[in-house]
């Protein structure tokens, strides 16, 4: 007989993984068998299904937060570049990622793109793959190109693991990740509908555990958290409902997320760790029976969550955000972008203009993953939350 854990116990376990820069959980997974291999990936997107189908553990690398002193990493980057590549290089050069057999770098921005080349030079024993996602969404053009890229990833990884990515294996992996996304969607729905029961500081930690856990374990963890959160009455508070946008790559420190909540905000939607909620529809069967690679390709060109790193073929860049605000019954938007994050910061004026036109209030600040001073942010978001309440009352 197993005892059901409380939300506090679950999030405490997740917090331990969050702060663990020795990567004990993925190391344990790897050490369980000499044949096991690990493939790391950078934000914001990775075809984890392919990695999984190759018998490998996809390991999300989200920098090193505010609890690793970056010395060597800083020697590789000018002051006007963001923080995540510095801490990622620090992780690599300090040997913390030596158990990682392959690294996948998605086409998020020029910094992550160039980091793929740096990795080739800094870690010559590691299989490095730049993952170029299509910016053309025609299934016969961008979709076909993407299928080729996916097969390229499979061909790069299979020799490491000795496991061929067959259509059957990939289909099973897609099902596992569809289940995971459904579980996460349920967690986000709970937070949206009853935010006092699923605070974002907890939801984030549970989500973040996806970086280091095998997909099946993570799905079970999310379900366990949702069940525990639903069963745990918590005192409701009078907070403003906000959507947080811009934090899809370099992650805000946990303290910053808590600060937003403590200032009187319920975060009812966000774009943290977007890889976990990349598709807006199930992947399995997306191509109408043309196979698992085709399913992944079709899902990508048809059902990708709009985000700053993906091209918007039509004007109205802010429309999807307005839709999200309304779907989440949010009262306002907090733009929280990492300093020097080109995609987020170039996107922001388009989004804020759209919000202005729709009469949706917003506020904006920048952070780094190692931001340590939260008081100014607390004052800003607290004032924002109070103001929204005043507008509501007026």
């Amino acid at each position: 007989m197993t005892t059901q854990r409380t939300t506090a116990e679950i999030t405490a376990a997740c917090e331990e993984m969050y702060y663990d820069l020795s990567f004990a959980a993925p190391r344990r997974w790897k050490d369980a068998s000499p044949d096991r291999k690990v493939a790391g990936y950078l934000p914001v997107f990775c075809p984890r299904e392919v990695v999984h189908a190759a018998g490998m553990l996809p390991l999300g690398i989200s920098g090193a937060g505010d609890w690793l002193e970056v010395i060597r990493g800083d020697a590789y980057y000018q002051s006007y570049l963001c923080h995540i590549p510095r801490s990622t290089v620090e992780l690599a050069l300090s040997g913390r990622l030596d158990f990682v057999d392959a690294m996948l770098f998605p086409s998020t921005c020029d910094v992550i793109r160039n980091l793929s080349g740096m990795w080739q030079m800094l870690k010559p024993g590691c299989v490095v793959r730049y993952v170029d996602v299509p910016q053309n969404y025609d299934p016969e053009i961008g979709g076909r190109f993407w299928q080729g890229e996916l097969r390229g990833v499979a061909e790069a990884l299979s020799p490491l693991s000795g496991i061929e990515v067959t259509d059957e294996r990939l289909a099973a992996s897609i099902r596992a990740y569809d289940e995971n996304r459904a579980a996460i969607d349920a967690m986000y729905a709970l937070r949206r509908d009853r935010p006092e029961r699923a605070p974002t500081s907890e939801v984030y930690l549970v989500l973040r555990a996806a970086n280091v856990l095998p997909v099946g374990e993570h799905t079970a963890l999310v379900r366990e958290y949702v069940a525990a959160a639903e069963a745990t009455p918590r005192k409701s508070i009078d907070a403003s409902r906000v959507v947080v946008v811009g934090a899809f790559c370099e992650q805000p420190p946990l303290g910053l997320i808590k600060t937003i909540e403590r200032s009187g905000c319920f975060v009812v939607d966000d774009d943290f760790l977007l890889v976990n909620r990349w598709y807006t529809a199930p992947v399995a069967g997306a191509s109408g029976g043309r196979g698992a690679f085709a399913d992944l390709a079709s899902a990508f060109v048809r059902s990708t969550t709009p985000t700053a790193t993906m091209y918007s073929p039509k004007s109205g860049r802010g429309r999807p955000l307005i839709d999200r605000v309304r779907a989440a019954r949010a009262e306002g938007v907090i733009f929280a972008a990492p300093s020097f994050c080109t995609p987020a910061l170039l996107d922001q004026p388009m989004l804020s203009d759209a919000l202005d036109a729709a009469g949706i209030p917003w506020t904006a600040f920048k952070y780094a993953e190692n931001t340590g001073q939260f008081q100014p942010i607390r004052e800003q978001t607290g004032t924002f939350a109070d103001t929204m309440k005043l507008w509501e009352a007026a």
Partner: protein, 430 residues
């Protein structure tokens, strides 16, 4: 000071100026002539294809750098920042947006038209995508994407090539036909590509002339003038061919006469340092920046920035026999679309082939495509070549980020270091 001879403009200089001016005049008069205008970027530009539709390209990077050289960019950038654009992002973008707000007046003093179409040649720079999304929202004009995959694994694959060709055939060309009402004629494209090859041959001869001692050209500061026509509107034209033919002939004459390059103060009399330069120049203080080198007798014998619009010197030529495939190859091969290890390779080869004394990186704040990883490039190229590397920081068109005293100090210190290392090596050899 090593530059004393009086400034004498070569015929190629005059021609270049005339060509660029004629381009801006043609552009500014497009509303009257009825020509359609298509905004696009320098890397991966489809110059010959646009000509097949009688469309005039609008090149926002060129507009921005022209604004920088005319000391207008500071105000444009400030205006964009006042309107909510972050101080952290590319100043080309903010300069362009600010220029529109200020009336969109080009370098000839004439108002430039709002482009009819935004052709997003997405090659080697992430910011391009956001730039045209911003312009599309601002100008209410349609955009069409040409996604060019990055050579992350160090090579262009047949799949990448096919992906680009398919986009050209099924997306870009139909959009251009719809915009202009002109039917695509592949033979017309072939003719233009054949003209491109001639200009490319001549340009490569000019680049390679810098292998001579003294180098007859400055392959960075002078080089940006040489690339003007071929990177803008004149690749695939007879005027472009004529210009490069004259430029080549004049350059070869300099070689025969043993003359150095033209600098802001005239012809350089003594070549003291041969450098390879990585990264774009600063435009707001271009002349001052150049003089920091030429005053010291330093010549850029090769540069990477002058290859953002094509690595012709590594063998690429447009191929009229495969018109769309060759456009795909061109887009794939632009400098910033190459992986970091490839860039290290290229710079190291330049250092060796051009017998450079050292290499210098001008790291610009605006351009992460260039800048991210440059400190590793510095180490790697030093390691491979044994030559001294230098590192300075500035920006493309943000005058706030050009600290003249600091940069001059660094350049002088760097050149002293090169000199000492060279002297030490000569001493060891004797």
């Amino acid at each position: 000071m090593t530059t004393a001879a009086p400034v004498r403009k070569d015929r190629a200089m005059e021609l270049q100026k005339e060509l660029i001016a004629s381009y801006f005049t043609r552009l500014s008069r497009a509303p009257q002539t009825g020509a359609k205008t298509v905004a696009t970027f320098v890397p991966g530009n489809l110059s010959e294809l646009l000509q097949c539709f009688d469309a005039v390209p609008v090149l926002p990077e060129i507009n921005a750098l022209q604004s920088g050289m005319r000391k207008l960019s500071g105000n444009y950038i400030s205006e964009a920042e006042r309107r909510g654009h972050s101080e952290d992002v590319c100043t080309y973008v903010k300069c362009d947006l600010g220029m529109f707000d200020a009336g969109n007046v080009g370098p000839t003093g004439e108002k430039l038209p709002v482009p009819d179409l935004l052709l997003l040649s997405y090659t080697g720079c992430f910011t391009f995508m956001k730039w045209f999304e911003l312009l599309r929202e601002k100008l209410d004009r349609p955009s069409v994407m040409l996604h060019v995959p990055y050579q992350g694994q160090g090579k262009a694959t047949p799949e990448m090539r096919r992906y680009i060709v398919e986009q050209l055939e099924r997306v870009v060309i139909p959009e251009l036909e719809k915009l202009t009402g002109v039917k695509f004629d592949v033979d017309r494209l072939r003719e233009k590509l054949a003209l491109s090859v001639k200009a490319e041959d001549d340009l490569v001869a000019v680049w390679e002339s810098a292998k001579n001692r003294p180098s007859p050209i400055d392959g960075y500061f002078g080089g940006v003038y040489y690339i003007g026509p071929i990177f803008t509107a004149f690749r695939g034209t007879q005027e472009g061919c004529d210009y490069y033919s004259v430029l080549r002939e004049e350059t070869m004459q300099r070689v025969r006469e043993g003359r150095g390059p033209v600098t802001p103060d005239g012809e350089m009399s003594e070549e003291k340092f041969r450098l390879v330069v990585e990264g774009p120049p600063n435009w707001t203080h271009f002349r001052e920046f150049w003089k920091m080198f030429s005053d010291e007798g330093a010549v850029a014998v090769a540069s990477t920035y002058t290859k953002v619009g094509g690595l012709y010197d590594r063998g690429f030529r447009h191929d009229p026999k495969d018109p769309l495939g060759t456009l795909a190859d061109y887009c794939l091969g632009c400098y910033t679309n190459h992986s970091l290890p490839d860039r290290v390779d290229l710079i190291s080869k330049y250092v060796e082939e051009y017998e450079a004394d050292g290499f210098l990186i001008n790291s610009v704040k605006s351009c992460a495509s260039f800048s991210a990883g440059q400190l590793l490039i510095l180490r790697e190229v030093e390691k491979r070549t044994g030559r001294t590397g230098g590192f300075i920081e500035s920006d493309l068109v943000d005058p706030r980020y050009f600290s003249a005293a600091n940069i001059k100090n660094r350049i002088e210190s760097y050149l002293q270091m090169v000199d000492q290392k060279r002297a030490a090596a000569a001493g060891a050899a004797s």
